[in-house]
Amino acid sequence: MVTSEVYKKEFDVIIIGGGATGAGTARDCALRGLSVLLVERFDYSTGATGRNHGLMHSGARYAVTDGESASECISENMTLRRIARHCVEETDGLFITLPEDDLQYQQTFVESCQRSGIRADIISPDEARHIEPAVNPDLIGAVRVPDASIDPFRLTIANLLDARLHGAETLNYHEVEGLIINQDRVQGVKLINKTNGEHVEVRGRVIVNAAGIWGQRIVQMAGAKISMFPARGALLIFGHRVNQMVINRCRKPANADILVPDDTVCVIGTTSDRIPIETVDDMRVTREEVDVLLKEGIKLAPSLATTRVIRAYAGVRPLVASDDDPSGRSISRGIVCLDHAKRDGIEGFITITGGKMMTYRLMAEIATNAVCAKLGNNVECVTALQPLPGSEEDAPSQSDTTKRYSFGQRAAIGRHGSLAARIEKDNDIDNALVCECEGVTVGEIKYAVHQLHVHNLVNLRRRTRLGMGTCQGKLCSCRAASLLGELNHDVKRAQDDLADFLDERWKGMRPVAWGDTLREAQLTAAIYQGLCGLDSVVNRQGKEDVQ
């Protein structure tokens, strides 16, 4: 449907927020036969969804302190292995005890895991060193749990694709400026189309607020109040994998005690700091955070001390104060679903928040149940049974490639699962690599632009991993910008986009700009500023969306 027609339609449900929860809710609602519109102010998975570890918790981390979250995690963990196979890598995880930790805790930990239904096998330090050679060799105890690695960008897009397959409409770069309120009923959203500045209103019977930490503002727009407690976490990305299993510390959760192998890299995190709500859009990583992450990280895997850090980033967890404790002392890490009709007397408005990326599907199910209750829809939820697009049983195998050198084709199968079959690969041009670090071909970029809502290079990065490798866009960004310029028939926009993309890449490199990462960045600057003279053709004023 053309965007202007979307504006005119009245929907059963409008979902605010294009993170995993919003995308999952859109899918669930669409599968239950509702007419759905999802709106997102930036790109999909720009917020906390795309700013975490990419860890598919087994729930073990919460077993001791929060049995309920732990049970939710393990149940969703098993579900995602089935429905989102192409987003998940079944790595398993270790909880290691170091000499300075209390080995007694291991017993408590294992018992708690068992109570929550999480398999937790105590293994010997020798076996731990054998199955995960990167682990700190000084460990005195280890427990193996079904942790895994998951790609949140892929997961979100797969949910959106399925939602659209079932009739949902999705609009990114549409920010909610206000709600349409008639007496005590929310009847729609006031939007600004950020690509052209147009103001529009779209009507819906139920509005779901899935805007994460930014949901507090949406609730305010409805005239109610919710107390959110933003907890900021910083993480570091290393240039390649040092570990093949998730490595955690077997102790009470603390700073930088999880190392996750994510696709071609590994990620250490996180720090955890309460921040004022006014600062949630400031994602700069500080020197202190980098220091803590490295210092704690090498206790998990000593080789991190000499492994190249390519990037730092931070995200904000949307923690919510319990309604019965307005002081905010009692904070829930669990899922919070608020029916504002019951809570505040505002009809047609639901907020789904709290929770974790890992439990997005359950959150979506809970929110959709609430929507359906309002609309009198009795269709059962099938999101736990039906595989996401790309994760069907007949996914092509890695050897199912057409070219002699098939690195790009195989990398694409890893990223898109069975949908990789839709990527053009019948000629040398489509097979040519654009991003050499991550193996992204011309064909994959065309597919992303045509099928996966790509407006700019940052979108393209989230859909394909373009520019996420060691060189952070040095070789691929000009090639990709040129392709986008061709596909959109707009050279000027492509040039501006290129400059924004390089700025965005530098932003993440800056906190870790030493050694080889600094050399890398300097070569990039020499190429784009020196050789290509990019600064002389691009106007850098008034750029807002560099996230």
Binding site: H240, L294, A305, T306, Y405, F407, D516, R519, L523
Partner: protein, 421 residues
């Protein structure tokens, strides 16, 4: 940075130091002629990240790498690109059995020993058209190739019969790692080397036990055997250097690179304590001349126009200047130094049917340069370059040591070094 973390990035073969500048790919002879091969950056450091994630990302086209090491020569960040590719091949083919063809091509020692026994028959048979066609169709050894002729008598045998007894009387001593080619195919190069060294007062000694350096074994996936032979050679060289205090000289650039750098890098056989004592004869002799320790006198009537071709492994060693400068010392030689280009054979690579065309396409730049140089012969330090250039240009190719020995006025040289009065 806290606690001295992140002072440097340490990773196998320096692969993290790659800044993706891509200069390596611009000098890769295979990438230049074949769109199937992605070039050293992609096959090396880029691919390595994916292989670290899952070895299933290993790609078979890595077999197309010549291991010429031109990528390593130009890398401004010191990344051991070719070693990364070799390592990937090694771990991907671990446990696989090499084909009969590859085993035969790789086992220079075994084949040489057998062929020496029946050299005239073997040479005749290997040169026959029917034999070539059978090898081409059954073993996939390209029919255009001719195996280097086998000598009737091994170099080692000749040395023991005709040279060994007089060596101890010399004032100085060196050891000689002759390599398979000298031993089985071309003892003349070894004889030339002995003649040259003896003329300046250096006695030549064989190692206690020498086996093929193993470069062909590594290239053809016979890693266990390569490691065994490397250990034997490392022990013999260790004794020559540390017990007998002799420098170990060679006349083949590839054997030299293998002994010095590939043993530790690929086979985990440590030769670091003797590495500096293993060198090509031309470098050793150049240094002696340069330091004024020896004098060379050349024949007055020796007149030739020769082109020097820098073998890829010679360039990796960085020693081509020694050979070039040695040749320039010969007054009668008009020396044309060719731009460094790969000849395309890379040991046994070019013998394989599937590589023949690529091999010749790669070499064509060099062959053109040689044709334009209008010379009567080509000098190079690598025997497989020699086969390739001889086959492809029809010109004779000689090792600089042979040219030096031919041009040398032995009597005058001995006098100039006070060996006879």
């Amino acid at each position: 940075m806290a606690d001295k973390m992140q002072l440097c990035n340490i990773s196998e073969n320096n692969f993290e130091q790659c800044t993706k500048c891509t200069i390596c790919t611009t000098v890769c002879p295979v990438a230049a002629v074949s769109t199937d091969y992605p070039g050293p950056k992609q096959a090396g450091p880029d691919g390595e990240r994916y292989r670290l994630k899952d070895n299933a990302y290993y790609d078979k086209v890595l077999k197309l790498c010549l291991n010429c090491k031109r990528c390593e020569v130009v890398c401004p960040s010191g990344v051991h690109i070719a070693d990364i590719i070799q390592h990937a091949r090694m771990s991907a083919t671990k446990g696989h059995r090499a084909s009969l063809r590859d085993t035969m091509l790789a086992n220079t020692d075994l084949l040489g020993t057998m062929a020496n026994l029946v050299a005239p028959v073997a040479n005749a048979a290997l040169g026959l058209k029917p034999t070539k066609l059978v090898m081409d169709s059954i073993m996939s050894i390209d029919k255009h190739r001719t195996f280097p002729a086998y000598s009737r008598i091994k170099f080692e045998t000749w040395f023991k019969r005709h040279a060994a007894s007089t060596q101890d009387a010399m004032p100085h001593h060196v050891s000689y790692f002759h390599g398979c080619y000298v031993n089985y195919n071309f003892p003349k190069l070894g004889q030339d080397f002995v003649k040259l060294m003896n003329a300046v007062g250096y006695g030549v000694h064989l190692l206690d036990k020498e086996q093929c350096c193993g470069v062909a074994l590594i290239a053809n996936g016979l890693y266990k055997q390569a490691t065994r032979q490397a250990r034997t050679n490392a022990a013999s060289i260790g004794k020559a250097v540390k017990v007998d205090h002799r420098t170990v000289l060679t006349t083949s650039s590839t054997c030299t690179l293998n002994l010095r750098d590939e043993y530790p890098a690929l086979l985990n056989v440590d030769t670091s304590d003797v590495r500096d004592s293993i060198m090509l004869a031309t470098r050793f002799i150049y240094n002696l001349v340069d330091e004024g320790k020896i004098n060379l006198v050349f024949k007055q009537d020796y007149k030739r126009r020769i082109a020097y071709h820098t073998a890829c492994h010679m360039q990796r060693l960085g020693w081509q200047l020694y050979s070039i400068e040695m040749l320039r010392m010969i007054p009668g030689i008009d020396l044309q130094v060719l731009d460094q280009e790969c000849c395309g054979i890379s040991g046994t690579y070019g013998f394989k049917k599937e590589n023949y065309e690529r091999s010749q396409t790669i070499g064509s730049i060099l062959f053109n340069h040689i044709a334009q140089a209008q010379v009567e012969a080509v000098a190079t330090d690598c025997e497989t370059c020699k086969w390739q250039i001889e086959m492809s240009t029809g010109l004779a190719v000689e090792n600089p040591v042979s040219i030096l020995a031919d041009a040398l006025d032995v009597e005058a040289t001995r006098k100039a070094n006070n060996l006879i009065s």
